[in-house]
Symmetry: C2
Subunit: 330 residues, 2 copies
C-alpha cells in the first residue's frame, strides 16, 4: 500500500481575484478565458488598474490536490513558493486542507516573490488570468523527492509547469521515479496557448509516459492541431490509456481503449469559472483511486467542478463527499 | 468647500477569514462575537489550527471609508501598514475603491509586519476576531497630517485605535486640527471590551469633542456601565449632538437633542457579520454629508450593513447607490 494516492506538481500561486467589465479586457489587450504570463512590472501595472480584490490560494494542480484532500484522499503537492507572506498563506491553505506540502521555500534573499495570478472575472463568470510566476518558475529537479514519487499511486502533472527553465527535467525525474515503482502518470494540458508553447514536449511525454490525460475541447484541438474534435479524441484514445476531456456545458467525454462514456455537466449559477478543470481532475482522480468506474469518476469530476464555479475562488468550499451523496453516487 | 467629506483614522488590517464550528471557539478560549488582541506568536499558533482561509482587506474604519468611497464620497484614510505584501494589498484595495490613502508605510526594516485579523466565522454568520496589530499599533502623531484634518467636514475615529502607545496623542492632534477648521468629530466605540480597556479616555473625549457617536447596544451599555439601555441612550443624547446606536435585528436608534428616530433593520441571509457596524457608519456618514435627514441616514446605514453581511468579507461588493435606489431613498 503506497503512502499517497496522488502527488501533484505545478505552479504554486496565490490568486488575486477581482471583477471587471468585458471592456477592461479589450482596453488592456487581455484575451478572455485564457492564461497569459506577465512579468512583475506588467503585473504591478495591471494590479494598479483593477478594483478591490480578494486573495485566495490557487495554482492549478494545487487546486486539484486541495480537492482530493478535502475528499479525504492521501495526497501531496510539489511547487515552489518563497518564504514571504503570500508563500506562508499558500502553504497554510494547502496543509490546512489535509495535503502534505514539503517543497522547500525559497529564502527571503531570493529577489523574486511568491507567484500570483491576477484573475479578472467578467460578469458572465468567465476568468481571464494574468500570471506572474515569480519564484515558482524555478522549481528544479532538486525539489523532486524521488522517494515521494515512488510512494504514490499516481502523479499529476500541470501543463502550465512546462513554462520554466528546469521544469522538463524536473518532470522527467518525477516520472522516472514514479514509473520505476509501478506508479502511473496523469497530466493536464492546462491551456491551449500553453500547449502551443510546448507542443512537441507535450506530445512526446504523452506518447511515452502518460496513462491519463485531462484536457478540455480547446486544448484537445490545439494538441492535435485540428478542428475535428472527434478525430482528436480518437487519436488521443489511441495514444493514452485513459482520456478525460471536458467540454464545458456539454459535460465530459471519457475514453479508454475502445470504450467511451459521457458524463453530463452539473448545471449551476456560474460566479467564477476559475478552477473548473482543476476540480474536475480532483473529483475524477479521487474516484479513480477509490475504486470507482470511469463513468462515475467523470460524474464526480463534474460535481466537483460545478461546486467550485458556484463561488469566487478555485478551491472547494462545500463538503464534496456530501455533494456526491446528494447525487446518489456515494 | 472642503476637499474631503470624511477622513477615517484606524487600525489598518488585512482580514484572514475562515469558517469554524462553535466548538473550535470553546476549545481555543475565544469569546464569540468580539475582538481580542493577540501577539504574533498567538496569531501564528491559531492560524496553524484553522482551515483554508481567504485574505480580504479590512480594518474597521477602513471598511467604513471604503463604503463611503464606493458611494462616491470624497474620503481619505489614515492607518499604518508596512511595505510588505499584505501592506501593498491593503493600500491597493483602499485606493482602488476611490479613497485617498497617503499614510507613509513602515519600511521593510521594521521588525513587525502589517497587521492582520483572523476572523473566525461560525455557521450562524457571527464573527469572532483575533487581531495581531503589528505595525498598525505604531501610528503616531507624526502620521497625522493637520492640513488633511483641517480640510475635511468630518473625521471618523475608530475606538479600536485606542489600543496603541501614541494613539491618544494622535487622536488629540487630529481632533484639534479638525475642530480649529470648524470640522466635526465622529467616533465608533468598536467593541465592549475595547471600551472597558479605555473607558475614561472614551468618556472624556466624547464629552469634550464628539459630535456623532456610533455604537451598538453592548457598547452603549459598557460605556455607561449600566444594564438599562434606555437610560444609557438618554445619557448619551445629553452629552453628544447625534447618537446612532445599532441593535442588530432590532434596527438602529438615532437620537439628537430631544428627537429620536428608529430605522428598521434590512433582513438578509447572514453569511458573515464582519463589517456590519462599519458599513452602517459608512452609509450613515455618506447620507449625512450629502444632505439627508438623520432618519434617512439611519436607513442608508442599515442597507449598507445588510449588504456587507450577505457575503464573506467586510467591504461592499454590490453598488450601494443601486441598493439605496431599490429601497426608494435615492
Amino acid at each position: 500500500m503506497k503512502k499517497y494516492q496522488v502527488v501533484g506538481i505545478g505552479n504554486a500561486l496565490v490568486d488575486v481575484l477581482t471583477e471587471v467589465e468585458d471592456a477592461f479586457l479589450v482596453e488592456n489587450n487581455i484575451e478572455k478565458g485564457i492564461m497569459q504570463l506577465v512579468d512583475m512590472e506588467q503585473a504591478v501595472a495591471l494590479y494598479s488598474k483593477v478594483g478591490p480584490s480578494k486573495e485566495i490560494s490557487g495554482g492549478s494542480a494545487a487546486n486539484t490536490i486541495a480537492g482530493i484532500a478535502q475528499l479525504g484522499g492521501k495526497t501531496a503537492y510539489v511547487g515552489k513558493v518563497k518564504n514571504d507572506q503570500l508563500g506562508e498563506i499558500f502553504a497554510h491553505d494547502l496543509r490546512a486542507q489535509g495535503a502534505v506540502y514539503e517543497t522547500p521555500m525559497a529564502s527571503k534573499d531570493v529577489d523574486v516573490e511568491t507567484g500570483r495570478c491576477l484573475v479578472l472575472i467578467t460578469p458572465d463568470g468567465e476568468r481571464s488570468m494574468n500570471t506572474y510566476l515569480g519564484v515558482t518558475e524555478h522549481l528544479s529537479p532538486a525539489d523532486i523527492d524521488e522517494a515521494m514519487m515512488a510512494d504514490t499511486e499516481w502523479i499529476y502533472l500541470e501543463g502550465y509547469r512546462f513554462d520554466g527553465p528546469e521544469s522538463h527535467e524536473a518532470f522527467d525525474k518525477a516520472i522516472k521515479a514514479c514509473k520505476n515503482a509501478d506508479g502511473k502518470v496523469s497530466i493536464t494540458l492546462s491551456d491551449p496557448f500553453c500547449i502551443s508553447r510546448h507542443r512537441e514536449a507535450f506530445r512526446d511525454m504523452i506518447r511515452d509516459h502518460v496513462d491519463l490525460l485531462f484536457c478540455n475541447r480547446a486544448e484537445m484541438l490545439s494538441m492535435y492541431e485540428t478542428e475535428d474534435f472527434e478525430a482528436a479524441l480518437a487519436q488521443a484514445a489511441k495514444e493514452i490509456g485513459i482520456v478525460a476531456c471536458t467540454d464545458s456545458a456539454n459535460g465530459a467525454h471519457i475514453l479508454s481503449g475502445d470504450q467511451r462514456w459521457h458524463a453530463a455537466a452539473v448545471p449551476t449559477d456560474i460566479k467564477d469559472a476559475t478552477g473548473a478543470g482543476d476540480l474536475f481532475a480532483g473529483g475524477f482522480l479521487w474516484g479513480l483511486t477509490h475504486g470507482y468506474d470511469l463513468e462515475t469518476c467523470g460524474r464526480m469530476g463534474n460535481i466537483a467542478a460545478s461546486e467550485v464555479i458556484s463561488h469566487v475562488g478555485a478551491r472547494p468550499e462545500t463538503d464534496l463527499k456530501e455533494l456526491f451523496k446528494q447525487h446518489n453516487i456515494l
